[in-house]
Amino acid sequence: MANERSASGSTSRKLLDLRGEVCPYTFVKSKLTLEQMAPGEELVVTVDYEPSSRNIPKSMRIIGEEVVSVAAKDDGTWEIVLRKA
């Protein structure tokens, strides 16, 4: 996992590369990573398994975490930005 500054430069972001992984691991790993973060911090998750691009945002909303954005990339991956509630 890596850290970077967000575009605004104010909040810290964590990067989680889950390419090659499938459900339910992709959601659970994202959930456990968020558990270790402070409220307001952002987590950027990258997946290449299409169902995970839908299931992670859906499940995150169910457990009360904020889904900032979901974007399909040209390289066949999805970038999901989550914010710890």
Partner: protein, 217 residues
């Protein structure tokens, strides 16, 4: 110690639940459960506890099939260790499958309450099972059995009612993970109908075992 990647995969099916956090799973992995009794539901309970990631399971009393059960649990989950015997053990949770609602069960319930340990009792009759997580002020196991419309003699020929095994494991798992007690009422499981009913039982003033249970605190 944070969960390893293989553990996250192994426990993913319960870690998907909102309140079942990584910390909750770590609690479970460090927990010790003492199990009394024997029979198919008890075997299933042990296997479910092992699969959920309970760290140590101690089986009280000698039974012929114990080695087989220890092997099956070990094959299911290397994180879990199943031990024969529980003398001198300080467990985090007690599950009692002994087919006894008399003084022996009342004594085990009182001992657990006095030590501040969660005590979960399962009793099986033909086509039905009762499960109850005891707390202070509760009646004795015999009076709970009575409240369910059953007698001691009904315990002599128990049906399989295997559902009581996984149900007991689920109760223990939730509490050991810090997610609370689903209910303190007795749960009556009707195996024929697949139906569950909650029973609120109160101590009987003339019952000696209820009095002894109350004195034990």
């Amino acid at each position: 110690m944070p969960l390893r990647d293989d553990q996250i995969r192994r426990y993913a099916r319960q870690l998907v639940m909102r309140d079942f956090t990584g910390a909750a799973q770590e609690c479970l992995l460090k927990s010790r459960v003492l199990v009394y009794g024997e029979g198919p539901p008890m075997d299933l309970c042990v296997l479910y506890l092992a699969a959920a990631g309970v760290g140590d399971i101690h089986l009280s009393g000698v039974r012929p099939s114990v080695l087989d059960l220890i092997w099956r649990a070990a094959a299911l989950n290397p994180d879990c260790r199943v031990h024969e015997g529980g003398r001198g053990l300080r467990p985090d949770y007690v599950i009692d499958f002994a087919q006894d609602a008399g003084p022996g069960a009342a004594r085990r319930a009182a001992g657990a309450l006095r030590a501040g340990l969660p005590y979960l009792k399962v009793l099986r009759a033909a086509g039905a099972a009762i499960m109850k997580r005891w707390r202070e002020g509760d009646p004795c196991p015999g009076c709970v059995l009575n409240a369910a419309g059953l007698k001691q003699t009904d315990l002599l020929n128990p049906g399989e009612t295997s559902v009581s095994g996984p149900a007991a494991a689920a109760f223990a798992t939730l509490e050991l993970a810090g997610l609370g007690v689903p209910t303190h009422n007795a749960l009556l499981m009707d195996a024929d109908k697949g139906a569950y009913r909650e029973l609120a039982a109160t101590p009987l003033p003339e019952c000696i075992m209820c009095a002894e249970l109350a004195d034990g605190r």
